[in-house]
Symmetry: D2
């Protein structure tokens, strides 16, 4: 059984990227995988200072240990200024090869305006840099303020179906890639 | 006289990207421009939460006001995981069009390993997103640990000359682009 | 008076990117600049072989000479596979610093599906590589098959207005950047 | 047994990217995979015109059929102007989802100057666009003119070892990803 960890890149109380992450997490769980969502709003993480002593912030070790033990990752970010949020990038900066190398990641972005894939492109390059795999399926949710209904589900069936395919691909391909050679 | 603000993307005490930023700032001053360096290590900035009330952190207003009043910017970042540091991206996330649009930016990155332009590419796209100009000259300093001598100058004369051209281009072209149409 | 050269990256007989290019060329001419459009459909260009003898193809010299004499460029490309068309990239490969360095470029992309800025991002990095300037304004035209009316004008007024701003910025800023220091 | 097709993006008679491709092809064959190299210098391909009738160029069908029948791909490109060669991009433009979707690709770039990963980044985004996988391992060979010895082998043992890991990863992970779910 594959273990997937989801990380959301927004600290906004009513964040859409966190909602999208929960939707995917549910679907991944329904496919029989184990899922844990790390909500950065509930964690006390410092800015990365380029060093390796974060003992004053136990949540750094929690982040690192949880990701290290995972097979796959969901990274869900708001697109800020045409890229990944500084919040999510900083969380990734607090980890390294030990946590991220060889993991299988799926990427989601959420935008206030028109859909775009800049944040997804940057995240894809970043994850490769730490030798992670990134699945080809990715989801950019544009005009997020009207993308979700009152129950937190996606209004657009096409998008919802793409989230299904995303979840399916992440679980299946994490299983394939993480098996012994 | 053009006003340039420099922002360094590292919180490391002995940061090379901050050193590179100081070198450029000196050269820009010598060219007759006004320069102010905002050292993020001395500022108390929060993580961007997607909102706009940061009154609990006066340094956010200081960052915003200083950049708003500037004509040009130097952004100097360590390359973490093949991209801009989360620290610098977060500082940019705390600003928007009001501060950044129409400004002229020059980009510097510093790497522990082999030189690369990933962080510079990402920053270029990010700055365009907020409708800033980015000068074609850019400097990536690889293997930073051996790039500086004991007095903080660059060992490689080619790199040092490129910093000169960078400073020259930033000052000249900021003046050109910021004049009335 | 600034000289602008437009290059379209599509060989399709009824190309939308060529239409968009013509629209911009008209607006740029109306602003008092000189415009020449190089239609790659009417030129006989070879694939770039990494060498410098293209004497068997006089259109290579025509491309090089026309661009060398220009102050600014409009590059209009269909987005193929999330990037610039091979046709346009090859035309750029047939030139180098001598033709492209210091020029001021504006970028347009046209897509069959949803709007995206991948081709524009790649072109921005490519143009910087040859030390050209790229204006912050850029236009991506999604679902091109329904973007133009029967007279070849843009249906969406917002897009049309963005083309106006694009033309204005290209002419004004080319004039600023190309003046003597 | 996995089938790998290699495509080189240079038409230069003594191309280094083609040499690098041959080196990898040998290693992949030694690992028990089937390899076919499509040398674009020996094929008569037209520029992509956005249409789908290339019956006048039988090599288009040969390219398409060979890639369609493959499990994995090696794409080896010279870095021209900080991106993939127009020649290789055009060859990819002549194919689509039918040929490329679901394939597993490994990427190599060769540069005249200092190593960089721009062409690799662009290719990674392009291949994702057509729903291919790209392995995390990638190789950029800088200063190619001094990277190979007289027998066409890489002088730098570190680089040579990275090509080994690249070949190993491509074969192993193509096998994993192409198995039935």
């Amino acid at each position: 059984m594959v273990k997937i960890v989801g990380i959301g890149g927004s600290l906004r109380p009513d964040s859409y990227s966190q909602r999208a992450l929960r939707l995917v997490a549910q679907r991944i769980e329904a496919l029989g995988a184990e899922v844990e969502v790390l909500d950065l709003r509930d964690m006390n993480l410092p800015f990365c200072d380029g060093g390796d002593d974060y003992s004053a912030y136990p949540d750094v070790a929690r982040l690192q240990n949880t990701v290290r033990a995972a097979d796959g990752l969901i990274l869900s970010t708001p697109e800020y200024h045409g890229s990944v949020s500084g919040v999510l990038k900083n969380a990734l900066d607090l980890m390294g090869f030990e946590e991220l190398s060889g993991k299988v990641a799926g990427l989601i972005s959420v935008l206030g305006g028109q859909s775009n894939s800049n944040a997804l492109n940057d995240l894809r390059t970043i994850m490769r840099w730490v030798h992670a795999w990134v699945i080809p399926e990715q989801v950019a949710i544009g005009q997020a303020w009207k993308a979700f209904d009152s129950e937190g589900n996606l209004v657009d069936e096409g998008l919802s179906k793409r989230l299904d395919q995303f979840a399916q691909s992440l679980v299946e391909n994490t299983a394939k890639l993480r098996q012994a050679a």
